[in-house]
């Protein structure tokens, strides 16, 4: 198991290197002058050249990349052109915000997704199945900014139960939590739909297997068999949940905009529109890093849970 783990960790190194190269390239291939947002329109050519040299944009790409990578390895992702603050700080703060609602959204989505999935898988073809399937399709296909706005109208504007936007007073845990609920619920419909579909298919497949007949033949009741269904479905269902968390970490630009939530989606959005190259690169790199690590964790979890996967 330890050897397996070590090998998996080593395998992620080339992946991360590739990821950083791709994200560096993508950002630089895009047309437009990176300094346009900070330079006054009438800046002299001399000033432009000075700033360019200051940020290192005058160097060949390969030098820029290696420098950037070298600093990144030490935790320094450069300085945001727009705000002048450290990219690392900005990204870490944004990830922190997104992580909060993403985790909450994943938990909500996993809970209801599993619930719908189990009901639908157990009672295939019944009205319950159709309702659960409808809800899960809705979850994947409904526009999230729209859902977000509907929720805001209902729960904030009409009922007044929850705050409509913002992150709230962070010294109060309860206030912070109340601000997280609407964005997290809005975000949760995606993992909910996907988890519901996955679990439904898993449960249907498990129930059709011969070993379920074997369990009946042992005198197990439906409750006793349920335990086996859960344990068989768990590795895949949890893996899907982990990957969903990864996707949600990218933040949803639309959801974070609707709720003015200062997460990664929000930061990426600003970085793109302001052509803030260091911030854009840094954010993408950190997100990619999270995603790769999460994948690794999911894989290891699955290996630990599922005895059928060879640990070699």
């Amino acid at each position: 198991m330890l050897v397996y783990l070590a090998r998996r960790v080593v395998y992620t190194i080339p992946i991360l290197l590739g990821v950083s190269l791709v994200c560096f390239a993508l950002v630089h291939i895009a047309p437009g002058d990176p300094l346009v947002s900070v330079l006054p329109p009438d800046a002299s050519a001399e000033l432009q050249a000075q700033l360019r040299a200051l940020y290192g944009f005058d160097q060949p790409y390969i030098v820029q990349f290696l420098r950037w990578l070298g600093r990144a390895l030490q935790g320094d992702l450069g300085t945001s052109i727009a705000s002048g603050r450290s990219v690392t700080t900005e990204v870490v703060t944004a990830v922190g915000y997104t992580l909060r609602i993403a985790v909450l959204a994943t938990l909500i989505g996993f809970f209801f997704g599993s619930l719908f999935g189990f009901v639908a898988g157990y009672y295939r073809g019944s009205a319950m199945d159709r309702i659960a399937s409808f809800v899960s399709v809705l979850g994947v296909s409904v526009p999230h900014y729209w859902l977000g706005m509907v929720l805001v109208i209902i729960f904030a504007a009409i009922l007044g139960w929850l705050p409509p936007t913002g992150k709230g007073d962070e010294s109060s845990l309860w206030e912070s939590f109340r601000h997280m609920i609407l964005p997290a619920v809005t975000m949760s419909v995606i993992p909910m739909g996907i988890v519901a579909r996955t679990v439904r298919a898993l449960v249907a497949d498990i129930l059709s297997q011969e070993f379920v007949v074997g369990l009946r033949a042992k005198g197990l009741t439906d409750a006793g068999i349920f335990r086996h269904v859960v344990k068989n479905a768990a590795p895949t269902a949890l893996a899907v949940m982990g990957l969903q968390l990864g996707y949600l970490l990218g933040g949803s630009i639309l959801i974070e905009t609707v709720f003015s939530w200062p997460g990664t989606g929000f930061v990426l959005n600003n970085a793109i529109f302001q052509r803030d190259l260091p911030l854009l690169q840094g954010t993408i790199l950190v997100l990619a890093l999270f995603f790769v690590i999460l994948n690794l964790l999911v894989d290891m979890l699955q290996t630990a849970l599922d005895p059928r996967i060879q640990r070699s």
Partner: protein
Amino acid sequence: MSAVDIRDLRVTFGGVVRAVDGVTLSIERGEVVALIGESGSGKSVTLRSLMRLHPPRATKMEGTIAVEGRDVLAMTPRALADYRGPIVSMIFQEPLLALDPVYTVGEQIMEIILRHEKVSRKEARARALALFERVRIPSPERRLDAYPHEMSGGMRQRAMIALALACRPKVLLADEPTTALDATVQIQILLLLRELQRDLGLSIIFVTHDLGAAVEVADRIAVMYAGRIVEEGTARELIRNPRHPYTIGLLKSRAHGVMEKGTRLDAIPGAPPDLARLPPGCSFAPRCAAAIESCQIEQPPSFVVEGGHRARCFRWKDAPAQLGAQALGAA
């Protein structure tokens, strides 16, 4: 009281497929009966009916099944669950599919013990270990912690047998317990079953494609065709004096060396009838060389040949001669 008494059992799936169509069979305590017949003749369905393992909504079961004096078809779900395991249990054809892949075999054996008896986990584990020793699994302590896919086919089938015996059942149902195994392992498993049967006084119904295995292990043999038992008798009676053309066909295919151990009983020309549209007369008529006109119109009843030897054939007296059974007997 017989261990198993099946009367005129009819099992219909989805309202049309008559997989079992009037099976009457009784098994004495301590007796081993083999069910043989081509694939699709209703052997597994008959066996599973004894534990009511068919999907309840899609299945209609008629007739009566009494096991150790209990009316199986009248049982409540609770009574049924209590009955499965300690009274009757089953050995499946493919243990790799019949065992849960994500639990160790030890856990699965402990589970059935804990389900039916008030014992501690420690005791249950000790019992599982003793069972593994009983079915002669080497390094049993270690093997208890193995997952099904980590064992060889033969070991897995031994573990399956241990599981089936865990709650000391009175009746053991074995659905082609050796079909998935290599020839040498098949023999070991058959011998093990026979030994356990003697030691524990089990009644066994044993389904097989393999006439050789049936003769080896069974006291009596029942031959199934299209959901009916067409001939039954002791192994000796059936081999020496077969009365039904289908049985004769099976024996012939074997006598000609076509039927090696484990091969399918498919040496008779033609195919079994569609169970959703059974002919009005004898269901073997379309393939039968001895068929006469009345075979097409009426179903043959079960004729008594001698003692417990019965055949469902209008021509049970003369069909064998016509089909050359004498030559067979001489071979």
